[in-house]
Structure formats: C-alpha cells, structure tokens
C-alpha cells in the first residue's frame, strides 16, 4: 500500500484518547467555574497539561510516520509543568497560600522544566528515530535522556510530598483528610504509571498492559482527586456536572475494557486469516493476495533463503530471516519428535553450525541431559516458556546497551549478577571472543543469540532496511517437505487498515458516550431530575431573597417530590411564624406606642433602635428617620445625660434623672428621664423612658401654693381680731379728734366757753399746724390697714354669698366694663387704650359661681396685665389683651393673654404667693393674684395657672367647672 495514509487508529489510540477526554472534561469543568479559587485554577491547568500529555500518546499511536516521534517533545514538555501545577494546587488548598511563596515555588519548577525539556529536545535531535513494534509507536532512541527526565519527574514529587506532609500535619479537621486522600490519589496516580512505564521499558510487562494500567490508574486516581476536591471546595459547582462526570468515568473505564477485548478479537481474527493465507500461499503457486509483501523460503539442505518481493520498496535482512527461520525450524524439531530422540536432535542441531542458537542449544542440552532419556514435549514446552522469559529479559537488556562501547557494556552486563542464564553467558562470551567487531555490528551479532524461538503461525513484525516500511510476518512450514520453511510478510499498513475501522468505531462510540453523558444525560434527566430541581432551586433562591410567596409544584412522588413538598411546608411554616412574629411585633409596638411615656430603644453606641409614638409626637420626628440616628441628635436635652446612658449599660443598673427642665414652645416643661439597661441575654443596649411630668410639677406647685394660702388664712384669722381691736381704737380716736376740734359741733363750743377758749381759734390753729391733715392721715392709714386685714381674711372666710349660675363670657364682659371705669386703674393706665380681642366660645355651658368673686378674679388679672403693659414701651404693636374661652372637658377654660413684658421664671413661680409683688411698695397689696388663686381653686374647685415668656407676654389660664 502506498504512503498516502498515515493515520491509523488502534487499541493504543483509544487507550490514550480516553484519558484525553477525561482530563479535558475535568479541565473544562474546573476552568469554567466563575470566580474560582487559585487552587481550582492550578488544578484546572494541571488537568489541561495532562490532557496534552495524553494527546501526545494519541498522536504517537495513531500516526504511522517517523515524524510521530516528536510527540515525545510534548510529553516531556508538559508532564513536569503538570506536576508543578499539582504542587501549586496543593499549596493553595484549603486556603490560598502567600503569592510570593507561590512564585518562589513556581519559578524554579518552570525553569527546571524548560531546561530539561530543552536538553531532551537537543538529545532527540542527535538520536535516531526508531519504531517500537510492541506499542506500534515511533520514538527517539534517547534512552539516557528519557531516564534523566524520569529522575527529574521523581524529584518534582519531593516538593509536592513536603507540602503534602506539612499540610496533613498542620491542617486540622475534615480538610486534613481531604488533603490526605487527594495527596495519596495524586501520588498513586503518578507513581504507578511511572513504575509501570519503567518496567514496561525494561520488558517485564508488555506495552498493552502498561497502556491499560496507565489509563485506569490515571482515570481512577485523578478522578478520585477531582471528586474529593469538587465535593470539598467552596467554589461553585453543579450537581448535574457531578452526575455526568461520575457516569462518564464509568463509561470510559467500561469502554477501555470493551475496546481491549474487541480489538484483541480483531487481531486474533487477523492472525487466523493470515495463517490460512500463508498456508495457501505456500501450497499454491498461483495464490498471491494483494497485501503479500514478500515470500522468504528456507531450505535446511542448502541453508539458504530465497526472497521474492511483491512490494518493490521493501528490503529485508535476508540473514536475519534465515536465522529466524532456522530457530523456528529448531523449535519445531525439538518439540515435534518423540521424547527419546530429543537429546539426539538437539545435538544434531549443534553440529549444523547455527551460531545464533548456541545459547539455546547449550541450555536445552543441559536440560535434556538432566531430565534423563525420556523427555515429553510438554515438559520441554514448560522449560521453553521459562527460558523464553529470561531470554526476552536478556534481549531487552542488551537492546538498551548503546552501540558505542557495546562490547564493554555487554561485558559489564554479563559480569553483573543480572545475567542469570549461564549457558547463554558462555555462548555470549564465546561470541565476544570470536568477533573482532564492536558497536552496531557486534550488537546485532549478539542480539541474534537472544532472538526468541518463534513458532510457526505467530505474528511478528519486520522493518525494511531500505525505507520506513514495515511488514507483518508469519512463519509457515512446508506441507510435504521437512526441512523447508517459509516466512510470509504482509503489508503493515494493511494490518493497520484492518484494525483501523474497528478502532474508529470504538472512538465514535467513545464520542457518542461523551455526547450521551453530556447532552443525553441532561435530556434524559430533564423531566425527572433537572427541571424539578431547577424549580426547587428557583424557589429556594426566591425564599433566600426574602420572597415567601413561593409554592413549588410537585411533579412526582420521588425524593425530589418529597423535598419539594417539605420545602413548601417549610416556607408555609416560615410564613406563619413570620406572621405570628409580625403580629407579636405589632402587638408589642402597639403596647409601646400606647404608653404615655416617650420610650426609646438604643444600642450601646447610643443609636436609636426603637422610637415609639409618644416620641414621634413630642419630637415631631418619624420613627423611620429616628432609627439609626444618635439619640442626642434627636433629643438635644439628652446630651447632658449620655454618661448616664453608658453607665446604665455598663453597670446594668437603671439610671434616673428627675425633673429635667427644658424649654418647649416658649414654656418650661419638666421630664423625668429613666434609662433602663436591657439585661436579656445577648441583647445590649437600653431603653430610655421620658415622662412629661410638667402637669405634675405644676400641680405640686399648686399644692404648695394652696398650703401657703391655707396657712396664711389661719394666721390672718387669728391676727385679724388682735389687729382689729387696736385698729378700731385708733380709728375711733381719730374720728373723735377730728370732730372735737371742729367748731361745728355744739358741744365743742360749750366746752370751749367753759374753758375760756375760742373754738374758731383752735380750729384755725389746727388747720395751720396741719393737725387736721395729720388726723386725716391717721384715718387713711388706719383704713388701709383695715383693708389689708379684711383682704387677708378672704383666705379664711368662706364667703357667705350664695353661688348662682352664670355665663362666663357675660362675667368677663361685665368685668371689662368694670375695669374700664376703675378709678384707681385710670390713674396709672387708661384701660380703654388696650385693645381687647375676644375669642369666646358662644355655646359654653353655664358655671356655678359667686359672680362677685369671679369678677374680682378677672379684674385682678386685667389689672395685672394693664399695669404690666404700662411698663413696656411698644413700637410696632399696641398693647393687647386676648381673652379666649373654650370648653375643655367638663371645665370652662378662660385664657387671658397679654403682649406685655411677661415675667422671668422665678417671678412666675411665685406670682400667686401672698404679698409677693414686683410693684413699688404701696402700689398694691401683693394679695390680688393670690386671692384670685384662692377664689378659683378653693372656693370654686377650679384651676388657675400662669405661663409667661419674658418680653413676650403673660398668659393666665383659669379653669372653672361647668354645670353639666
């Protein structure tokens, strides 16, 4: 056949392609992981390099051309880098190592790899290309350098092993075992094929077995490693990928076996066909099939080989064929004859000067002599099988001795303990002694001594010395003529073509299975597994995002169906507990919001976590805005008490700050602040409770006021009697004096006449000396003292007057009228200059009161305002009193506010105290407002309060109980 075709698939192609596919798929799997860790990256790269490595084997076993030898450059080039990345992978697992250290590891590894690869390439360029028939592949005759590469590869395991042991010792927990198993898998996956490769090169196992070991160990060990890693990495992966991966590995291993047996059968068939062909060729002159390459015929009588070529390009080594045919004939004769003649037969052969059989003859003669006269053919066969093993060993050892310095190399081998066949040793020593040659020539002479004794019908291969063509050869005995034997060579390419279709089908099957596993599995599992799983995962993702309105439909009552049902139930129960939680939360919020206190939850940093409705109301800040803000930003008056907050949290003791005064809407208000630390386990922070106690403080003020009034009342009552008696005396005396110095009184004139005085003169005198005025002064002063006592008695004396029903608005109007006409008031300030604003609630119910008293109260207030406003100078406004009445619950509320000067807080506090006055001494008694207060609170069961802002005005608030 022509050299048109060079690509022929065979068992070795499949054997290498399976690891290619396997490693490539894992590479894709790892490198396609988004946001992968560095460990994953290095593992992916390592798997990719192993993919390339195996692909090189695909080339070498499929390409029937010497150029295929260059595949070695690829294998050597990537294997060290692959080991480097496995080491880096382990370095970065389970946690990424220091990048600097990683570079420190990687750079020397890479440098050595490049250097060794360079040396190997250089070595290859200076080596021959040879064809290995046992593996059907091309290679460089670069044994030494290949061994060197092997050593470097072994050394590359050292850093891996060091990191491996280091990590196994230092990493604790589950990951220790992950590392342990991955490390062992890697070492097994690297060492076993390496050892198998070495022993196959040594000739102890054949290439096919190595190929199987290589593929199986490689796939199993690295699959094991990959699966352990995938199951333990934190990188993302999918379930489907794992199922497809595991299934695929099973398929690949199965296919490896199937292809081995299928292709083995194919080869057996080939052999059988060609043995039949050989038989016909030898017996029929006319039968010459197309693939027949040559016919070699040996005649024992002449000791010559006749060679006839059908393939004109071939040139076979005639001498070698002769030696082979002789050895086949030798084998046939020693096995064919009866036992008794066997020893004689061997000796006959010894006389035939078949030099290349010396070793065998010596060995067999000794064996036959040792066995005695009778030696069965099966005993002989048993011995030959053992011998064949050792001879094959010799053959491989000697083949590996380089041609240059061959003699020395062989002598070294024969002297070493490894040369275990003494008879062969003698034969080889003899050969060495006889031959003057060295190098290649001597090597081929020696090699002929250790050729196998090939039985007729066995397939073997021959290389053409003229070109890179090969032949598949069979030995065939002549049917009728003993001593005649043939060797029939068939086209090697035809042999490969014969195997190729079967191998191609296997490869197609391989890709079919991959497709099936990748796409078919998906399709196959779509309905049963992937789709329900995706729906479930979608549901889980939605719940994960917080959407609880999820119900995944259940498709089948299998495990996924159960999972889905359980998931739906769990979502339901989450929904329910969320609702319950929310209800509880709302309920608690409701409770907290219903509290009349400001309740603020804060974290230890003082940031607000809860903000109840009262807090919203008081601060006018929404809960949403308040949460997260610092409490002192929201409630500035809290600034001074931050330390109390921290103290409460630190000491786990409530902190109470009482009666904190602050200004709000122009009035002073009071709060109690209590900080309760949260003491439940795990919760840190505090609750700040702020109670508005303004009305309580006001009430207390009022109580104090009332107490004061009552005690003054008691005092006044006691004092009044004692003061009134002397006061009566003073006033009476003054009146009598006034009368008795007057000339108008008849009695005065009579007494004056009696005493010889003139009443007119006395009156004149009195007038001139101002005595009359003085007496009038006594009367006036006495009168004023009398008024004071009478006023004070208001505090004690329950008015005798009867209460009657009145309209508050009417009472106010009457009082305003009274004020306008008040002479004393007019002296200081004309009330008519004040603008009165009336804001009356027309439908106010009647009150039960003593009208004079209530009018007195209003008058006092109006007077007070008018007097106060007199002290203020107005620029842009005019004095104004606003009177507002309104219903407030079951009280009538009267507000009298002016825009006068107002008063400071300390004045406001004391304004209802008796005798407290800011006016000049003599202007007022200081009792007006306190009497008013007494009238409202004691006599009418009402309330009276005042609020004021300095500079802005004063507001009196009176509340009186309504009739209904």
């Amino acid at each position: 056949m022509g050299g048109n075709h060079i690509l022929y698939f065979n068992f070795f192609t499949i054997g290498a392609l399976i690891p290619v596919v396997f490693h490539f798929l894992i590479t894709v799997f790892f490198l396609s992981i988004p946001e992968k860790s560095r460990a994953t990256f290095h593992l992916g790269v390592a798997f990719f390099l192993i993919t390339l490595f195996n692909f090189a084997y695909v080339i070498s076993s499929s390409v029937y051309h010497p150029m295929a030898a260059y595949h070695r450059w690829l294998t050597v080039g990537v294997i060290m880098l692959a080991e480097t990345h496995y080491t880096l992978f382990l370095f970065n697992y389970p946690n990424p190592g220091r990048l600097k250290t990683e570079r420190l590891l990687q750079i020397p590894h890479y440098l050595v790899s490049f250097l060794v690869t360079g040396i190997f390439i250089w070595g290859c360029l200076h080596s021959d290309i040879i064809y290995h028939f046992d593996g059907h592949y091309w290679d460089f005759a670069a044994e030494h350098i290949s061994k060197g590469v092997g050593v470097v590869l072994g050394l590359y395991l050292v850093p891996f092993t060091v990191i491996f042991i280091y990590k196994v010792v230092l990493v604790s927990g589950r990951e220790r075992f992950v590392i342990l198993f991955m490390g062992i898998a890697y070492l097994v996956g690297s060492l076993i094929p390496a050892v198998a490769n070495t022993i196959s090169r040594e000739g102890l196992i054949d290439r096919e077995l190595f190929q199987i070991i290589w593929a199986m160990v490689n796939i199993f060990a690295f699959f094991f490693l990959a699966i352990i890693y995938i199951n333990n990495t934190r990188d993302e992966s999918t379930f489907m990928a794992k199922i497809a991966g595991i299934s695929m590995v099973a398929f690949l291993v199965l296919l490896q076996g199937i292809s081995y047996f299928a292709l083995n059968d194919k080869e057996l068939a080939y052999d059988e066909i060609h043995r039949q062909m050989s038989h016909r060729i030898v017996s029929t002159e006319d039968y010459r099939p197309a693939q027949l390459a040559y016919v070699a015929a040996y005649d024992q009588a002449t000791g010559k080989v006749a060679l006839s070529y059908r393939d004109k390009g071939l040139r076979m080594d005639k001498d070698r064929i002769r030696r082979h045919l002789e050895s086949s004939l030798f084998l046939a004769t020693i096995l064919d004859d009866h036992g008794t003649g066997r020893f004689r037969q061997i000796l006959t052969w010894a006389r035939r000067r078949t030099d290349h059989l010396t070793g065998y003859i010596r060995n067999l003669a000794e064996f036959a002599a040792g066995q005695g006269a009778f030696l069965s053919s099966s005993e002989m066969k048993g011995h030959l099988a053992k011998l064949d093993f050792y001879v094959a060993y010799y053959r491989r050892k000697i083949r590996h001795i380089p041609a240059s310095g061959f003699r020395k190399g062989l002598e070294a081998f024969l002297n070493s303990g490894k040369a275990v066949l003494p008879n062969f040793n003698v034969a080889l020593w003899d050969e060495l002694a006889d031959s003057k040659a060295d190098g290649g020539l001597l090597k081929s002479e020696i090699m002929s001594q250790v050729q196998p004794l090939r039985p007729a019908g066995d397939r073997f291969y021959r290389k053409s010395s003229a070109n890179d063509q090969h032949a598949v050869s069979f030995v065939q005995h002549a049917n009728s003529a003993p001593g005649r034997i043939y060797e029939l060579g068939f086209s090697y390419a035809a042999y490969r073509q014969y195997i190729h279709p079967a191998a191609t089908k296997m490869i197609l099957l391989l890709f079919g299975l991959i497709l099936f596993a990748l796409a078919g599995f998906r399709l196959f599992f779509l309905g049963t597994f992937i789709y329900p799983m995706q729906r479930l995962v979608e549901g889980v993702k939605r719940v994960d995002r917080g959407d609880l309105n999820v119900a995944v439909p259940v498709r089948a009552a299998d495990e996924i169906g159960y999972l889905t049902e359980a998931f739906n139930r769990m979502v339901d129960s989450i929904k329910q507990s969320n609702k319950a939680l929310n209800d509880t939360r709302l309920y608690l919020k409701n409770i907290i919001d219903s509290m009349p206190s400001v309740l603020i939850g804060v974290d230890p940093a003082g940031h607000v976590t809860h903000w109840n409705q009262e807090a919203e109301r008081i601060s006018r800040i929404d809960e949403d805005q308040a949460c997260g803000a610092a409490i002192e930003k929201l409630i500035p008056q809290f600034n001074a008490y931050l330390e109390n907050l921290h103290k409460a949290i630190r000491n786990r003791e409530p902190q109470k700050i009482e009666k904190v005064a602050y200004q709000m809407a122009g009035e002073t208000r009071y709060s109690d602040i209590i900080v309760y630390p949260l003491i439940a386990n795990g919760v840190k922070g505090a609750v700040v409770r702020i109670d508005d106690i303004t009305s309580r403080v006001r009430f207390e003020e009022m109580m104090v006021q009332s107490e004061k009034m009552a005690s003054i009342g008691g005092l006044a009552a006691g004092m009044a009697h004692e003061i009134n008696n002397p006061l009566g005396g003073i006033l009476m005396a003054a009146q009598n004096i006034e009368r008795r110095v007057s000339p108008d009184l008849k009695k005065n004139r009579e007494v004056a006449e009696e005493t010889g005085a003139d009443m007119e003169l006395i009156a004149d005198y009195m007038e001139k000396r101002g005595v009359k005025k003085m007496v009038a002064g006594i009367l006036e002063m006495g009168q004023r003292a009398s008024d004071i006592v009478a006023n004070m008695l208001n505090f004690s004396r329950k008015s005798e007057a009867r209460a009657s029903t009145h309209n508050v608005n009417d009472l106010i109007e009457a009082t305003i009228e009274l004020a306008a006409n008040d002479y004393n008031l007019k002296k200081q300030y004309d009330f008519r200059h004040i603008h009165i604003v009336r804001d009356y609630e027309a439908t106010l119910p009647m009150i039960l009161c003593i009208s004079t008293e209530i009018q007195q109260v209003f008058l006092n207030i109006l007077k007070n305002s008018a007097q106060a406003m007199a002290d203020k100078s107005y620029h842009n406004e005019s004095p104004q009193i606003r009177i507002r009445t309104a219903r407030e619950g079951d009280m009538a509320r009267v507000e009298v506010s002016d825009n006068g000067p107002g008063m400071p807080e300390e004045v406001r506090k004391r304004i209802f105290e008796p005798f407290f006055t800011t006016k000049e001494v003599g202007t007022g008694t200081g009792l007006g407002l306190s009497v008013s207060y007494f009238i409202v609170t004691e006599n009418h069961g009402g309330q009276m309060a005042v609020s004021a802002r300095a500079g802005k005005g004063t507001k009196f608030i009176i509340k009186l109980p309504l009739m209904d």
Binding site: G729, A733, R739, L779, R797
Partner: protein
C-alpha cells in the same frame, strides 16, 4: 324723746375703745354709761334704765352673749348692738331668738362712727336731726 333721754351702755374692756365710743355718743347728745366688764355692766343695769347696750363680745369673765341674755332678763325693753373684733363671729341662736340680726352686728374696726347714731335712731325710729 330727746336724744339725751336715750341711755346707752358701752361695754368694752379696751379703755381706748370704750372712751372713744362713749365720747362720740356723748358728743351726739346721748346719755352714755360705760362698763369695762359684763359684771360691771349688770350692776349698772340694775341701777339704771338702759335703752341701748353696745357690747363687745370678748370680755374678761362673762362674755358678751351671756351679758346680753342676762341684761335682757333684767330690762326687757333694752336693745343691743354687738360690737366685735372677731372675724368669724356669728350670732348664736339664743340671741337671734331675742330678735337680734346681722344688722345689729358691728365689726371692728368701725371706720365711720357716724353709722352709730343712725343705727340708734333707727331703733327708735327717730329722725337723727332732732
């Protein structure tokens, strides 16, 4: 009835009050007797016809109320004006039964003594200008 025919008894233990009250009424033309205690007053009532008694309530020994009751039993025609410094004085039932009312109560200090003769004349339905 002449003004001087009206006999008035002023009972007050406070000398200044007693002198001034008596003095004022004498100046008005009334016949005035004075006593510093109830006992002294009763002695006088036994000896003299008294038309009007102006009586302080708080007296050493027997008080004004008892004095009025005793005096009334001595002279049924006698009229009374109560002159008191007590702020919480209220007429006892026994005196109300004698026909006394709030109009007959003068509270100290009496800042205008001119009301006294008016009240007396009123009792006797006399024109004060007589």
């Amino acid at each position: 009835m002449e003004t001087s025919d009206i006999h008035i008894l002023v009972v007050d233990d406070e000398a200044v009050v007693n002198i001034n009250l008596s003095g004022y009424l004498e100046d008005e033309g009334f016949t005035v007797f004075s006593a510093a205690s109830a006992e002294e007053a009763l002695e006088l009532i036994d000896q003299q016809r008294i038309d009007v008694g102006i009586i302080d309530m708080r007296l050493p020994g027997m008080d004004g109320n008892a004095l009025i009751l005793k005096a009334y039993h001595k002279q049924r025609a006698m009229k009374f004006l109560i002159h008191t410094g007590s702020t919480n004085y209220s007429l006892p039932q026994s005196l109300i039964e004698l026909g006394l009312g709030e109009a007959q109560v003068l509270r100290k200090p009496v800042s205008d003594l001119s009301i006294l003769p008016r009240m007396i004349y009123e009792m006797f339905s006399m024109d004060d200008n007589k």
